[in-house]
Structure formats: structure tokens, C-alpha cells
Amino acid sequence: MDSTTSELPTRTPLRATASNGLKIVVVGGFGVGKTTMVRAVSEIRPLSTEEVMTQAGATVDVNNGAYAKTTTTVAFDFGRISLDEQMVLYLFGAPGQERFWFLWDSLFAGTLGAVVLVDTRRLADSWYAIDRLEHHGTPFIVARNNFEPPVHDLSAVRGALDLSPDVPLIDCDARNRDSAKQVLITLVNHLYALSTARENTP
């Protein structure tokens, strides 16, 4: 846990007027920084299972000796942003790998859009997520998370990912609140552009 997160309360109550929950999904491979990003902008400490990856389990008292189990669990985590008196945005960090395909339908139902977080050291981890989003027509942007100065420029990444030209691709630092905020704004701007384009098309 870094210091910024421990300052966040796990649960602060929402405004009594809160009435509309919105969803944005941050999707990416393991270790790409999903949780970090959710944590950076969330007003609550993200509730997550990724911190409890290995559990020394139930010690069972049976005749002689104890039984201990080790369980590794992976799930999504989420954070929360109160946008105004009514709207509350929930950010879900979801593993992007193909083996978690069954998460998608329920998690992505009703979502505004998605942020694909990529790490150029493990770019292929994002392929399945991008394929899936393209396939379902879910609006998304791609954000490259840079914990270190990147080697490749964004156009090389765009080329490697074979992104369609209208999909925004930006750099970000998932640890940084403003940077994470900018990623969300980029996504909503993209949605706005898509929406107005559709509204203008009869």
C-alpha cells in the first residue's frame, strides 16, 4: 500500500441525492496498473481482491497437525467518483486476458466505455481485450501506462496494435491523479464525439 491509498476511507457515504450509477471499465493485463489507476482517481479505497492473491488458508485442527491451503484469486476491483449531486461514476479494473472472457458480458453491460491500459513491455496482453471491444462495438480508448520513460513513440504503438485511426491513444502515468483523470476525460470526449456524430447522422 502506498501512502496515498491509506488516506482514502474505504467507505464514505454517497450524497443522499445520488441516483445514477455510471460505469467505466479499465481493462488490461496483470500488472499493467489498473488498480493503481483506479486508486489514483477514486474517492474510496478501491475494493479489490488482487491484494489477497495468496492466502494461507484455514488452519484446520485435525488429529495430528494442521492443514493449510493456498488460494490465489483474481477478480476485478473498483473505485468510485461522485460527479455531481446525482451521478456517481464507478471505475472497474478488469483483467483483460482471454481466460477471463466470461467476466465480460456482465461487467460490460451498460458501461459507458472502456479504457485499455497497455504496457509496451507486454503489449500482447491487451490484444484479446481490444479484439473483444472491437467485436462488441464498445467505445474505447487506449492508454499507455508509463512508469518509466517509454522507448517507443505512440505511433509505433498504434501501428503495433493496429488501432483504427479514430480510437484515441494517449500516454499516462497511472499513479498520477491528474493523468488518470485526463484518461477518463479523453474517453468521455471520445464518447461525446461518437455521440454527436451519431446525432448528426440521420
Binding site: F30, V60, D61, P95, W127, D131, D162
Partner: protein, 492 residues
Amino acid sequence: MPEQNPLPHPDRRKPVARPLLAALVTAVLVGGLWFWVTTTTPHDARLPVAIAGGVTGLLLCFAVFLAVYRADAVHTSEVSVRRAWEDTQQIRGAAEHMRGELARLLDQVVPALVQKLREASSAESALAEIGQPPDELHQRILRTLATEIAVGERRRAAAMAACANAAGRVQALSTSMLADLREMENRSSEDMLGDLMKVDHSTAQAGRLADSIAVLTGARSGRRWTKPIKMESILRGAMGRIGAYQRVRVHSTSTTAIAGYAAEDVMHALAELMDNATKFSAPSEEVHVYVEDLHNGTVITIEDGGLGMKPQALARAELAVSPTEPLDLTMLSGTRLGLAVVGVLSRKHHLHVFFRPSSRGGIGVVMRIPNQLITQPRLEPLPEAIPQRRPVAVGAPAAVAALEAPTLTATDSRTDGRTDTAPGEPLELPQRTRGQTLQSAQPARHVAEPSLTERPRGDAGSRFGAFQQSRTRRSIEAVEPAEPSWPEHNDA
């Protein structure tokens, strides 16, 4: 018996000696008198007198002989009668002695021997410890007995130990399975949850059976709770281990908890009683559980609407849960272990269990849990002000149980948000081809095998996913155990 009559009578060898002597003395006396009479009698009368006197004398002598002879004979038989009586007394004494010895053998020596053997002494050392009886036959009896009992005891102890050991293993297995299942349930989709719950329920019941065998074989309970368990959880914990838990209705406002060390046993005992109540009432009937906190403990009443118990069955049931009667394994009937288990657990924790007619028509079983097992539950943090609660699984439509996937642990939990352990950025970026990853992933779902992405072998996430996929095509058949008909309570 010659050895008891060693001295022969001297008179017996010459039974006629004394009469002859008497006759001789008579003859001398009578002869002298006859001679005197004959010589003093005048001549003319001398002959007849001599003849008559002689004959009389002879007769007299003979009579004396006979008399003495008869008298002797009477005397002799009197003696032998007395001797025979003495012999009898002696034999009776010996028999009494033997009887005493035998009684001591049976009442003291044999129980002591059995006790020693039950305490796992060997036949030899047990015999040595109790000391040898003086009689050689008794020694032989004891030796045979000791050998036979020792073999029987060893056999019994080995069988019990094997059962206890096996039960312990099943307990450990079911406990870990229950923990795993809960993890999977926490992360399952709605479609999966029902199936997982079914397996969970079966596992809980199997665990209870293992617990029962452990209890009856004298092994320890399967689990120790390290915190007090609140009454609601005690009752649900009990319900979860029986088949027809959905027929059980709980009416409780109790806010107490059971001390951790006793919680498992109380749950187990309640589960057995609830199981009986559901089994011995019609499948359409509900079983009602009432909880009352009283000054001398918490009273839990389980009422069914069955046919009740006949006096004989009631007597057996009461004996099984009696606070004083120890467990008698010979009373077990294979399929009906419930009340015997309740009995053992009740005696262990001083639970008081008794039966009474139920207002619902069947049986009301009452369990009083003594105050020393009652405590208060740990305070749960108020939801409004939770300080840094343990992050929890969110579960649900979107989650994964990736069991035993250590590589995932290593990469994700350590490197998420950090760069130090990750590989450096490659100079050549890999090139994606649109749709290919998705497409190549599709067949993998049908064959339930990992596809091309670098996935650890045996990764449970993919297995889990594949399982989900397969179950959409072929729903898991519900394995419902045949509901037994509902005889009267005759569990004992």
C-alpha cells in the same frame, strides 16, 4: 478315599476275636461252676446234672459269643458312619474353598486383567501385574483369557484408530473443499453459483458424516473456531450440514454467541437433531427451531410434525443422550448414529438434551446450552465507519477464482504499479492482427483447453472458464439423494 482314611481299624481285621475271648471266659467260669456243681451233687443225680449243666454251659458260652459278636458289629458300623460324615465335611470344605477362589478370580482378578488389557497392556505384562492365582487350573484359565482379550483389544483399537484417522482425513478434505468452494462462489457468475452451492451442500453433509465418525471413535472435532460464533451462524452452520435444510424455519432474536472452542460441537449436535426432525416428519412438514436466552443458559427447541416416538424408542433416545450413561458402541446400528453423537457431544460440553411432545404433533427436542458456553459475539464494525476493512472479493458476475496459479500471484501482486521486476521494454513491438486473438480463443473454449496466449499450465482461470462454457451446453445434473420415507423416530 484312602488318603483321607489312612489308619485301618485293628478290630476290623479280627471281628471274631472279642466274642471268642468272651466265650472263653464264659466257658472257664461256667466250666468251673459246672465242675463244682457236678462234684457236689450226689452220685445218683450227678450224670443228669452234669449233662444238663454242660449243655447249659455250652449254650451260655455260645450266647455270650453271639452277644459280644453282635455288640461289636453294631459298634463297628457306628464308627464308620461317623468317619464317613467327617470325610464329607472335609470335602465340602475343600469345595467351599475352591468356590471362593473361583469367585475371587471372576470378581477381582479377571476384571483387573481385562482392565489392564483395555489399558493396552500386553497379555504377559497384564498377567504379571495382577499376580498369579495359586491354583494351576486357574492360571491356565487366566492365561487363555488374557491372550484372547489382548488380541480382541488390539483388533478393536486398530479398527477404531483406522476409523478415526480416515474420518480425520475426510474432515480435513471437506474443510479445505468448503473453503475453496466459498472462494469459487465468491467469484462465480450467477449461472455457476447454483451448481457450486449444490456441491457445497454435499460437501458439508459429507463433512458432517466424517465429524460423526470422529466423535464416535473418540477423535477430536474437525474444526476449532478462534472467535465466538453468533447464534445465527450456529443455527445456519447446523442447517447447512443437513439434507433438508430448506424445511427448517428458525425463530430467533438471540444476540448471544457460542464460545469458539465449543461452537463446532454445538453446531454438530444441533445438525444431528435437526436432521432427525426432518427425517422423521413428512417432507411437506416444516421443522421449527426456537431460541430462547434464559438465566441458566440458552434453550434451543426443535419441533417437528412427525408421528412422535413410541415409549420404547423414547427410552432408547433418552438413554443415548443421557448425561451419565457413557457411549455404548454396541448400541449403534450402522445407519443411525445421530443421537449417539449428540450424546457424546452433550456429555463433553454439559449440554442438556431432552425430549417432549411437540405442540406440532411430533417430537420437541430441547437442548439447553449452559451459560459457560455462552458469550457475546465480537462487535462487527458499523458500516458507516469502517476503518480500513480487509479488502474483500467483489465476486460476482465478473470474477475469477484462479486457484493454484502461482505465476499469476508473482506477476500481478508484485508488479502492478511497479516496474522493477518487470522485463524491460522490447525494441521490437509485437504486431497485432485484428480479431485474431479473439478468433483463436473461440475454439479453445469448446475444447476446454488453453489457447495460444502465454498461459501457465493448469491455470484454473481457463479451467474455470472452460467449465463455465461446458456447463452452458450441458447443465450439471442435480444429484438428489432419495428422500427416505418418514418412519417414526426410532433413532437410538
